[in-house]
């Protein structure tokens, strides 16, 4: 635990227990989403599915990166992951991104993906709001993750016909915002 770092956050008026619970729930959401996205990705087949497969894969890898990036901050603040993987799954901040009954229904697949991203956008916005100007390190991390989640949402939203994302696909490595926390 980073004692002074935690003390600074407490002194700034952040309820560290609540913050830790949110960070752990969101870490769970990232890892479980990585798992469920794996199933979605392998089922994105055929002419329609192949068009989405690559961005689903980028979102999947970046969600795993978010999980990795969150862990050090949880332990710095004195938190820890549940010992049981089952328990960890069940406290996820977001519902399972389960495979639709008909995986060839691309709209249903995209709806699952966009819902998961929207849940994440709300979750990191909440953490940013809670830590802004108070816990600079958690804020910086959450903002970096939020930047990537917003892009994921906009990619899937564009495919759903909700309007242009304004983005191009990733050029180069994944996690352009979060990578600094992974070194």
């Amino acid at each position: 635990m980073a004692k002074v770092a935690k003390e600074m956050v407490e002194k700034a008026g952040v309820n560290v227990d609540q913050l830790l619970e949110l960070l752990i729930k969101n870490a769970s959401a990232e890892l479980t989403t990585f798992y469920y996205y794996t199933i979605l990705r392998v089922n994105l087949i055929g002419l329609d599915g192949e068009g989405i497969k690559e961005i689903a894969e980028v979102a999947r890898i970046e969600d795993r990166n978010h999980f990795e990036a969150l862990i050090p901050r949880i332990y710095e603040l004195g938190g820890k992951l549940p010992e049981s993987m089952n328990a960890f799954h069940d406290i996820s901040a977001c519902p399972p991104a389960s495979l639709p009954k008909d995986p060839t229904n691309i709209k249903a697949m995209l709806t699952v993906l966009v819902k998961a991203e929207r849940c994440a956008v709300r979750g990191y916005t909440q953490i940013c709001n809670m830590t802004a100007g108070k816990d600079h390190r958690t804020y910086d991390l959450s903002l970096a993750i939020l930047n990537e989640e917003v892009e994921h949402e906009s990619w899937f939203s564009e495919f759903l016909g909700e309007g242009p994302s304004g983005h191009f696909m990733r050029r180069g490595d994944t996690s352009p915002f979060v990578s600094k926390f992974l070194r």
């Binding site: 609540q18 619970e21 949110l22 729930k25 519902p95 956008v121 709300r122 979750g123 909440q126 709001n129």
Partner: protein, 73 residues
Amino acid sequence: MKKFTKVELAQQNGKNTFKPYIAYNGKVYDVSNSYHWKHGKHHVLHRAGEDLTDALQEAPHGASLLERVPIIG
């Protein structure tokens, strides 16, 4: 439709046999089927059995999400 007193609403905290209900803008909503209200808690900060009218102004979502939830009072 049933009229809830504050005491009756507070009982509906999602614990024991009580279903989680929340109040917003004068209406009572049954959130027992919502993933985001498991065990009567919502994203760490909010509890069932409370009037969340003010809290919703600060939330990272609008009241439109409540449209999916049954109104019971």
